[in-house]
C-alpha cells in the first residue's frame, strides 16, 4: 500500500488541468504519445455512447522511482464553480491534490475555493505553477501569491509547462515524495466509497470506488449501506484509461466494480459499499448538495415524455446533484422541474439530453427557490412561478441571497461594481490582494446572477475577473409575478418572478425580445406582459405577408416538395402554444435581457 498514491488535480478553469493530466498519462507511458489523441478521442466517443460525462475516468498510472514501482491513481475533477460538490466527491477518494496555478494569471477565485475544499478534506496539497512557456509568466510572483493568499508553502512547487512537457517528472516525483500513501487495513471488513458511477448497457451501473479497508473480488456479496440493497460482484478492475478487469481490489485501491445493478434508485453516489457477511461502519458520506437553479424541461414532441424521463434517470446515475420532479404546464404539457447547481450545470445537462439522448427539448426560464408567506400564515417553497398562490393571498416573499466574491485587476473594479449594484447587489467590502488583484465581496440575490451574470462579468472585465459564490440565506424582497400573454392567453411557461423595481422595464424588454424571436406566422400575434392582470407592455408580431411557391410549371413537383419539407423540418423545432409557434430556444433567450 505504501506504493500507492491517490490524487486529483484541482485548478481554476483554464489553468491547464486537462493538459497536465494528458502529460502525466504520457510521461508514465500509460498512453503512448502517438496514441494520445486517438485513444482519448476513442474513449470520448465510447463515453458518449454510454451516456456519461465527458471527463476522464480515474486512471491508474505506473511510475518507477528510485527503482521501485508506484501506482498513481489520478481522479479527475470538474473545474467550474457549479461543480464544487463533484470536486468534493472526488476529493474524498484521495490523499492528495495537485493545485495548478497559471503562471500568467495567478490565484483565481476557484483556485482558492478548490484549495480550501482540499484542505477541508484533509488532503495534502502539492502546488504546481503551469504555463511557464508563456511570455507573461511570472513564476516568482505566483509563488508569493500562493504562500500569501492561500497560505501553503510553495518554495518547492514545480514550475512546468504542461503544454510543452517541461518538468513533468518533477511533478511525478513530488507526488511520490510529498503526497501520503493511503492508510487502511485489507484484513478489516470491506469499506469502499462509491464516488461516481455511469451506466453501461451490458454491465449495468459501473461503480467507481475507493477502498479504505478490506478487499473485494468477483462473486463477493456486497451491500450498499445507505440504500440497503445487496448485489453480487460480477467484475472488478481499474482504468488504464481503458476499463481493465483484475482479480481483486484491496485497501488503498481506486477502481470500479460491476454487480448487475440495473436501476438507478438502487444506488446512491457517496454511499459506503461493504460485504453482506461482514459489514463495516459507514463512511461519513458527502454533504448533501442542494440545487439552487430550477427550470422546466419538456420534450418538444409530447410523446417523448417517457424517453426524457429515462434519460434524466440515467444522467442522475453519475450526477447525484440532479433533481427532478414531474410537472405539468398548460402550455407545454408533461415535463419535469429540474434542479441544478448553477446555470452551467443546467446548460451541460440540457446539452447532454440533446446530444447523447437525441431529444429535442424546451427549457423554460430558470428560477430559484422562493419562500412565499401567505396572508393566512402559511409558508410555501416555490420554484415554479406557475405554482404561486394568487397575488392577493401573498403577504411577502423571501428570496435566496448569495455571498459573491469577484477577483479582478483594479482597473475593472468600477465596471464590476456597476454590474453588481445594477443586479441589486450590496457591496460588503474590498480587499487588495498581492499581485495587482482585488477581491470584491457582495451580497446579491441569487436570481440576479443565475441568468447571464458570469458572461457579463467576463465581458466587462475583458475576461480577467473570476467569481465564486455560496448561499447566504434568505431575505425579504419586493417581488412580483410577471405573466406573458400570447394571443391574449397567459403562457405559463414564460411566467417569471421579478423584482418590483425592474418589473416595468423588464416586461417591456421581454415583449420586445419575444417579438424578435417569434417568427411571423399566418396570423398577427399580440404579445403582452402583465403584472397581476394589468398589462404593462404590448408588442405585435405582424402576420406573414407572403409565403407561397410562386409557380409550379414544368412538372418538377419534387423540387417544390423539397422546399416545403425544409419548411416542415424547421417547424418541427417549434412548439405550438395555442395557435402560436414558438422556437424552442425562445424560453431561455428571453432571459438575456
Amino acid at each position: 500500500m505504501k506504493h500507492i498514491r491517490n490524487f486529483c488535480i484541482v485548478a481554476h478553469i483554464d489553468h491547464g488541468k486537462s493538459t497536465l493530466a494528458d502529460r502525466l498519462l504520457e510521461v508514465t507511458g500509460t498512453v503512448a504519445k502517438r496514441d494520445m489523441e486517438a485513444q482519448l478521442l476513442d474513449s470520448m466517443d465510447l463515453e458518449r455512447e454510454r451516456g456519461i460525462t465527458i471527463k476522464l475516468t480515474p486512471t491508474r498510472m505506473l511510475y518507477t522511482y528510485h527503482g521501485e514501482e508506484y501506482v498513481l491513481n489520478l481522479i479527475d475533477t470538474p473545474g467550474h464553480v457549479d461543480f464544487t460538490y463533484e470536486v468534493s466527491r472526488s476529493l474524498a477518494a484521495c490523499e492528495g491534490a495537485i493545485l495548478i496555478v497559471d503562471a500568467t494569471q495567478g490565484v483565481e477565485a476557484q483556485t482558492l475555493s478548490n484549495a480550501y475544499l482540499a484542505i477541508d478534506n484533509n488532503l495534502e496539497i502539492l502546488p504546481v505553477i503551469n504555463k511557464i512557456d508563456l511570455p507573461a509568466a511570472d513564476v516568482e510572483r505566483v509563488r508569493n501569491e500562493i504562500e500569501q493568499v492561500i497560505g501553503i508553502p510553495s518554495g518547492l512547487a514545480p514550475a512546468i509547462s504542461a503544454k510543452n512537457g517541461t518538468n513533468i517528472d518533477q511533478v511525478l516525483e513530488q507526488i511520490i515524495e510529498l503526497l501520503p500513501a493511503p492508510t487502511g487495513d485489507e484484513n478489516q471488513p470491506l469499506k469502499a466509497l462509491l464516488f461516481d458511477c455511469y451506466y453501461n448497457n451490458f454491465l449495468g451501473a459501473v461503480c467507481l470506488v475507493r477502498l479504505f479497508d478490506g478487499k473485494v473480488k468477483v462473486g463477493d456479496k456486497i451491500k450498499m449501506l445507505a440504500t440497503g440493497k445487496e448485489f453480487e460482484v460480477t467484475e472488478v478492475g481499474f482504468f488504464t484509461p481503458k476499463q481493465t478487469p483484475c482479480a481483486q481490489l484491496s485497501a488503498g485501491d481506486v477502481g470500479y466494480l460491476c454487480a448487475s445493478i440495473k436501476t438507478v434508485n438502487e444506488i446512491k453516489i457517496g454511499d459506503t459499499i461493504t460485504l453482506t457477511e461482514n459489514p463495516c461502519a459507514p463512511l461519513p458520506g458527502y454533504k448533501e448538495v442542494l440545487p439552487v437553479v430550477f427550470t422546466g424541461i419538456y420534450p418538444i414532441a409530447g410523446d417523448k415524455y417517457g424517453e426524457l424521463k429515462d434519460a434524466l434517470d440515467k444522467l442522475k446515475l453519475n450526477d447525484a446533484s440532479l433533481e427532478f420532479t414531474k410537472e405539468t404546464s398548460t402550455a407545454l404539457g408533461f415535463g419535469f422541474r429540474v434542479g441544478f447547481l448553477g446555470l452551467l450545470h443546467m446548460e451541460i445537462i440540457t446539452e447532454r439530453l440533446e446530444r447523447e439522448f437525441n431529444l429535442d427539448i424546451i427549457t423554460t426560464a430558470p428560477s430559484v427557490n422562493y419562500i412565499v408567506h401567505t396572508n393566512d400564515g402559511r409558508t410555501l417553497n416555490v420554484s415554479n412561478p406557475s405554482n404561486l398562490p394568487k397575488a392577493v393571498e401573498i403577504d411577502y416573499y423571501e428570496e435566496p441571497i448569495v455571498a459573491l466574491k469577484m477577483w479582478t485587476p483594479p482597473e475593472y473594479i468600477g465596471a464590476l461594481m456597476d454590474l453588481a449594484t445594477n443586479k441589486r447587489g450590496v457591496f460588503i467590502d474590498m480587499q487588495h490582494m498581492d499581485g495587482n488583484r482585488t477581491l470584491l465581496n457582495f451580497k446579491i440575490p441569487l436570481n440576479e446572477i443565475v441568468y447571464d451574470f458570469f458572461d457579463r462579468m467576463k465581458s466587462c472585465s475583458h475576461g480577467y475577473a473570476s467569481l465564486d459564490y455560496e448561499p447566504a440565506g434568505y431575505q425579504r424582497a419586493d417581488l412580483v409575478k410577471m405573466d406573458i400573454l400570447l394571443n391574449g392567453k397567459i403562457c405559463d411557461a414564460l411566467s417569471l418572478i421579478v423584482h418590483e423595481s425592474v418589473a416595468y422595464s423588464k416586461g417591456k424588454a421581454l415583449a420586445e425580445r419575444l417579438k424578435d424571436i417569434i417568427p411571423r406566422q399566418m396570423f398577427e400575434v399580440p404579445i403582452q406582459a402583465a403584472i397581476g392582470g394589468k398589462i404593462i407592455a404590448r408588442e405585435t408580431v405582424k402576420a406573414l405577408r407572403k409565403d407561397v411557391l410562386a409557380k409550379c410549371y414544368g412538372g418538377d413537383i419534387t423540387r417544390k416538395m423539397k422546399l416545403l419539407e425544409k419548411q416542415r423540418a424547421g417547424k418541427k423545432k417549434m412548439r405550438m402554444l395555442g395557435n402560436v409557434e414558438i422556437p424552442s430556444e425562445a424560453f431561455v433567450e428571453i432571459l438575456k435581457i
Binding site: M522, D547, V548, A550, K551, G555, L564, R568, K571
Partner: protein, 326 residues
C-alpha cells in the same frame, strides 16, 4: 383501353438567357441540330403503345426558335394527339410563317412570353423584346389561334405590375402571372394585387383563364395525372415514379426514379390541391378539423361539404396552410 398521357418536350435554346428563368437553357444555337437528333431518338425509344396522348407542351428555352422543318421532325416522332398542343413563343421571334406552320402541324395553343406591359420593366428584366413587339405578336397570334395565353411577371422590385389593357385582354383566353423568384423564393415579401375582368377566373395560384380555357396540360401536373418529359431537364411522372433527365444539353440522361410513398402522394395532393380553385378533397384531411376551423376563422380558407379551398388571402400564405394540414 389506353391510359391518358401528357407529353412535355423541352427545347433549351434561347437568343439570350433571362436572369429570372430557372429552366434548363443555353444560347449555343450551333448545337440545335445535335440536340434535336438526340431528342427525337429519345422520343422514338419510348413505348407509347399503352397510352393515349391527350396533351403536348413544347416548352423551353424558346421553342419558337425552331424552324418549321425542325419542329415537324420532332412532332412526327409522337403519336397523334387529339387534345391541347401548346408551344411557348417569344414575341420577337414569332412570324406569320411560323404561325401558319404551327397550325398546319396541329398546334392549337400559343403561350407568349410577354412578361410585362411596361417598357421599363421589360428593359430591367433584360428582355430582348419591347412593348410594341409584344402587341404585334399578340395580334398576329390572335389571327391564327383562338386559344392564346400570355405569361406575365409581377412583384418585381422598383416596378409596379401593369394590368394588360382591354384590347389585349379581348384577344387572349389565358394569363399566367407569377411572382419574380430567385433560387426558388419570391424576391419580394409583398404580393401585388391583380385586377382582371371577372371572366378571367383564377383557377390556380398564378393562372387565370376564361371558362373552358384552363391549361389542360398544366392541370395534368396539378391533379396527379401521368406525363412524360423529353429533353434536357424534363420531368416525368409514370407508374407512381417521378424521374427527370439531367441538365446537360447534349449528354442528358434519365436519372434514377423516385417512387412515391403513400405519404408523399398525400402531401403532394394537399400542396397541389391548395393551389387550385377546386381545392383539396376533405377526405384527404382526416383529423385536421381543428386546423381547418382555425384557418377558416381567419379567412384563409373556405370550407364546402366536400372541399377546403384557399381564399385570396390564403393563396398568399399557402406554404403555411400546407404545414398545418399535413
Amino acid at each position: 383501353m389506353k391510359k391518358p398521357l401528357s407529353v412535355y418536350i423541352h427545347f433549351p435554346f434561347c437568343e439570350k438567357r433571362c436572369g429570372y428563368c430557372d429552366f434548363v437553357s443555353c444560347t449555343a444555337t450551333e448545337n440545335v441540330d445535335a440536340y434535336l437528333q438526340k431528342l427525337c431518338a429519345e422520343i422514338r425509344a419510348f413505348d407509347f403503345s399503352p397510352y393515349q396522348v391527350n396533351t403536348i407542351y413544347l416548352g423551353g428555352g424558346t421553342p419558337s426558335l425552331m424552324t418549321p422543318n425542325q419542329l415537324e421532325k420532332v412532332l412526327k416522332c409522337l403519336p397523334a394527339c387529339a387534345g391541347e398542343v401548346t408551344i411557348e413563343c417569344n414575341p420577337n421571334s414569332l412570324t406569320q410563317m411560323k404561325c401558319a406552320a404551327y397550325r398546319r402541324l396541329g398546334i392549337n395553343r400559343l403561350s407568349l412570353g410577354v412578361q410585362s406591359f411596361d417598357n421599363a420593366t421589360l428593359r430591367d428584366l433584360e428582355r430582348i423584346h419591347d412593348l410594341k413587339q409584344a402587341y404585334d405578336a399578340i395580334k398576329l397570334a390572335h389571327a391564327y389561334f383562338d386559344n392564346l395565353s400570355i405569361d406575365l411577371i409581377k412583384d418585381i422590385p422598383q416596378h409596379t405590375f401593369v394590368t394588360p389593357p382591354p384590347e389585349i385582354l379581348a384577344m387572349i383566353k389565358h394569363i399566367s402571372i407569377y411572382s419574380l423568384t430567385k433560387d426558388d423564393h419570391c424576391v419580394l415579401d409583398t404580393d401585388e394585387p391583380v385586377h382582371l375582368p371577372s371572366d378571367f377566373v383564377r383557377y390556380e395560384v398564378s393562372n387565370y383563364a376564361r371558362a373552358g380555357y384552363e391549361s389542360k396540360h398544366n392541370l395534368v401536373y396539378w391533379t396527379g395525372g401521368e406525363y412524360i418529359g423529353f429533353g434536357a431537364g424534363a420531368h416525368s411522372l409514370l407508374n407512381n415514379q417521378r424521374f427527370c433527365n439531367s441538365n446537360a444539353i447534349l449528354t442528358y440522361q434519365r436519372e434514377l426514379p423516385f417512387t412515391r410513398s403513400a405519404e408523399d402522394i398525400h402531401d403532394e395532393q394537399i400542396m397541389l390541391g391548395l393551389r387550385l380553385r377546386s381545392g383539396v378533397a376533405r377526405s384527404l384531411l382526416v383529423g385536421k378539423d381543428d386546423a381547418i376551423k382555425l384557418l377558416a376563422e381567419h379567412g384563409l380558407v373556405t370550407v364546402t361539404p366536400t372541399h377546403v379551398i384557399a381564399t385570396t388571402a390564403g393563396l398568399k400564405v399557402l406554404n403555411q396552410i400546407w404545414l398545418r394540414l399535413v
